[in-house]
Symmetry: C2
Subunit: 392 residues, 2 copies
C-alpha cells in the first residue's frame, strides 16, 4: 500500500487527530495509538454503543494498533521516546503547550529523532492571541464565519451538523503529512506540519471569501437558493421534493426543454440570469407548476437524461440503501473481533493498484502493547514491571 | 518544496479538480493547466470581477501555469500526449466517459506513460448506475444525505452554503495523489486515483453515520443545539450572542463556576447530561439570565479563562480582521501582474521547512503555452502553425 512501512505514533484523541491517522492508516501506514492505561480514548464511550462497542470509535480507529502508556510518568516518557526514535510521524491534537509540558516539545522531538514529521491539529493555531483557548468544533464554526453563512435568509446563523472543522483539519493534516513524506523520500528531514481548525474551514470559503475580499460586501444567508444563480433550488413534485441545479444558460435551456417551458424564452423577465434572480419567485412558480404534475422519480430520470443536474433529498436510510452508494462500497461490513460484523462508511479515495482496506479493525484498549514494546526492545520482565506499576 | 519536481497536467475546470491542483501547486508541484484557446476555464468569468479579474479564479488558480490547447483537434491531442508522456500526474473532473471519447482512456494513458498517476473527481463515481448523470455540488449535497441533516428542527433541509462536496472531494484527491506519489518513489507504477463528491461527504458523517448504522435511528436536524450534549448552543449577552460548547461533565462544572451557577448542582433536573437534554430549555434559561448581564467580549474572556470553549459568531468582515486569523496569515496579499495587489485566503497547512507560498500568481490565458511547448520539443515554426490553426 502507498504508505506501507511508514510508522505513525498517534497521541491524538476524539476527532480531528484520530481522523487524520485513520486516513493515513487506510493508506497502509502503521498507526500506533497511545492510550491511557485503563481509560483510553474518550471516543470509546461516545456515540451509540452496541454490546459495549461504540461504532463511532470503531469507524475512527480502524487500521490502528493500541498501546497503553502513561505518558505522565517518567518511565512511560522513556518508552514514548523509544517509540518516537523509530517512528516516521507523530500526530497530536493537544492544546498548544501540552507537548512541551509533557517534555516532548519540538526541540526535544528533533533531538530524539531529527527525521520525525511532527503533525499537530489545533483549534486556532500553535501560537498567536487565541492559541491558549480551549477549542471545539462549534466554536471554530462560529469564529471562522461558517455559521454566519449557513441557514435560511429569514433565520439566524446555524451550525453545520457535521463536526466539519475537525474533519477538514484532520484531512488537511493527513495531506500535509503525505506531502512531507514525498519530500522526505527525496532526502529532507523531519518538520512540523500544523493545521488549525479555523484555518481549514476558512480555506473552504471559495467564492464567498473571494467575492467579499474583492468587493467588501458581506455574503448573505440564502438557504436553498443559490446566491448568484436562478432558477436553482428545491421544487415540489407530486410525491416530494427534488433539487435542481441548472448551473448556466446552456443547462437552463435544457431545463426549459425538459419541462416543456420553452415559451419562457419569450418572457423578458427571464431573459438573463440577472433578470431571473430579480424574478426568482415568478420563474420558480412556473417550474413548480410543471414539476408538481409528476413524481420525484420521473423528474430525476427525465431531467438527468436532458443533462440537467437533479436529485432527491435523501435521508441516511435512503443513502445507505442507494444503489450508487452501495456500488461505490461506501458502506462496509467489518469483522470486529468479539462483536461480530459491524457496518461503517467506506473509503472515499479509490486507488487502483493498492485499494484502501480494513487491515486491522479498531483495537481493544492495549491490544498491541506487547507486540509494539517487544519490537522496540523491551523484555518480558521490563514489561511486567511497567504493567505492575500501571504504566502500560 | 515537498512536491517540487512533480509535474501535473491539469485538464480540470471550475471547482473540484482545480482545488485539487491548487493544493498540489501550493506544495510545490508544477501545475500545467490546459485551457481551450480563446475561452479558458469558465471560472475566469465567475464571481466578483475587479478590473476584469475574477478574484475567485485567482484564488483557485494560484501556483499554476496556463497552456492553451484545443484537445478536440488531432494535432492538439498529439501535443497533449507529449505533455502526458513527461508528466507525473494528470487531473481531470470530466463526466465519466469524456476522457475515453477524447482518446485518453485509462488504457491509452498507460500506453503513453505507464508511471502516470491518473486522478479524477466525479459526482457519483466512474461507473455504477448514476455515473452518467451530470453532477453538481447541490445535487451531491441532496443525494448524500447532508441536506437532510442541515437546518433547524422546525424547518426543512438546507443546503450547505459552501460548495462543500466539490472541496472535500478535491482535497481527498490531492491527498490520494500525494499518497500515490509516496508509494511511487518506492518503485510503484502509475495508477488511477478516483474520488466521488458524494463519497467524500459521506465519509464526513462521523457519529451521524455510525449511530445510524448501529441503531437504525435516523438523526434529526437540531439547528444550533447539539444532538447529544446539553447545555450547548448560542446564548444572548448584553450586546449579541456567544456560542458555548461545554463538551463533557468536567467542562460543564467549569461553566457553572464561571457563571456563578454552582447552585444548579443541587437541582435534580440537571444532574446528568441526559437529564439536561430533557430540561434543555430550563437550563438554557438559567444560563442566559447570567450571560445577558455582560457583553460578548466579557464572556469570551471569562469563559475561555475558565476552560470553557466559547466564541462569537463572526461574519466575514470580522473574520478577516480577527487578530488570530491575521496572525495565521489566512489573508494574503498577492501581486497579480497587471492588476496590482489582490487579497486571497491563505494556506491552512503550515510546513516548517518548506512553507506553502504563491510562487506563481494565477496565469493569464495561455501565458505559459510557449514555455511549456518549447520544453517538450516543439519548434517556433511548429508553434506558429498550431497558433495559426487555433490549436494553441
Amino acid at each position: 500500500m502507498p504508505l506501507s512501512g511508514t510508522v505513525v505514533v498517534d497521541l491524538s484523541r476524539i476527532i480531528a487527530g484520530p481522523f487524520c491517522t485513520a486516513l493515513l492508516g487506510d493508506m497502509g501506514a502503521e498507526i500506533i495509538k497511545i492510550e491511557t492505561p485503563g481509560k483510553g480514548d474518550p471516543l470509546r464511550k461516545q456515540g451509540a454503543m452496541v454490546d459495549g462497542l461504540s461504532w463511532y470509535y470503531a469507524l475512527f480507529n480502524r487500521n490502528k494498533k493500541s498501546v497503553c502508556l502513561n505518558t505522565r510518568d517518567d518511565q512511560g516518557k522513556a518508552v514514548l521516546a523509544r517509540l518516537l526514535e523509530q517512528a516516521d510521524v507523530v500526530v497530536e491534537n493537544f492544546r498548544p503547550g501540552v507537548m512541551e509540558k509533557m517534555g516532548f516539545g519540538p526541540d526535544r522531538l528533533k533531538e530524539i529523532n531529527p527525521d520525525l514529521i511532527q503533525a499537530s491539529v489545533t483549534g486556532f493555531g500553535c501560537d498567536g492571541p487565541y492559541s491558549k483557548r480551549p477549542a471545539f468544533d462549534f466554536i471554530a464554526q462560529a469564529m471562522s464565519g461558517l455559521m454566519s453563512l449557513n441557514g435560511e435568509p429569514e433565520g439566524g446563523p446555524v451550525r453545520d451538523p457535521l463536526p466539519i472543522t475537525d474533519l477538514i483539519s484532520g484531512l488537511y493534516a493527513a495531506f500535509g503529512v503525505a506531502c512531507s513524506l514525498v519530500g522526505k523520500r527525496k532526502g529532507g528531514g523531519g518538520e512540523k506540519v500544523q493545521v488549525a481548525m479555523v484555518d481549514g474551514i476558512i480555506s473552504f470559503f471559495a467564492y464567498m471569501s473571494a467575492n467579499y475580499l474583492a468587493t467588501g460586501q458581506l455574503p448573505q444567508r440564502t438557504g436553498n437558493d443559490h446566491p448568484i444563480v436562478s432558477p436553482y433550488g428545491v421544487f415540489r413534485t407530486s410525491d416530494g421534493e427534488v433539487a435542481l441545479a441548472p448551473s448556466n444558460d446552456g443547462v437552463y435551456q435544457k431545463l426549459l426543454s425538459a419541462l416543456g417551458l420553452e415559451r419562457l424564452n419569450d418572457d423578458p423577465r427571464f431573459a438573463t440570469n440577472d433578470l431571473r434572480m430579480t424574478h426568482r419567485s415568478e420563474i420558480n412558480a412556473f417550474i413548480e407548476e410543471v414539476t408538481k404534475t409528476e413524481t420525484k422519480a420521473h423528474w430525476v430520470k427525465v431531467l438527468n437524461e436532458h443533462g440537467v443536474p437533479c436529485g432527491v433529498i435523501q435521508n441516511l436510510e435512503e443513502v445507505f440503501n442507494d444503489p450508487q452508494v452501495l456500488h461505490q462500497q461506501m458502506v462496509m461490513d467489518v469483522e470486529q473481533p468479539g462483536y461480530g460484523t459491524i457496518k461503517m462508511t467506506g473509503f472515499p479515495v479509490k486507488l487502483e493498484n493498492r485499494p484502501c482496506k480494513v487491515h486491522t479493525p479498531a483495537p481493544e484498549l492495549g491490544q498491541h502493547t506487547q507486540e509494539i514494546l517487544t519490537r522496540i526492545g523491551l523484555s518480558p520482565k521490563e514489561m511486567a514491571a511497567l504493567r505492575e506499576n500501571g504504566i502500560i
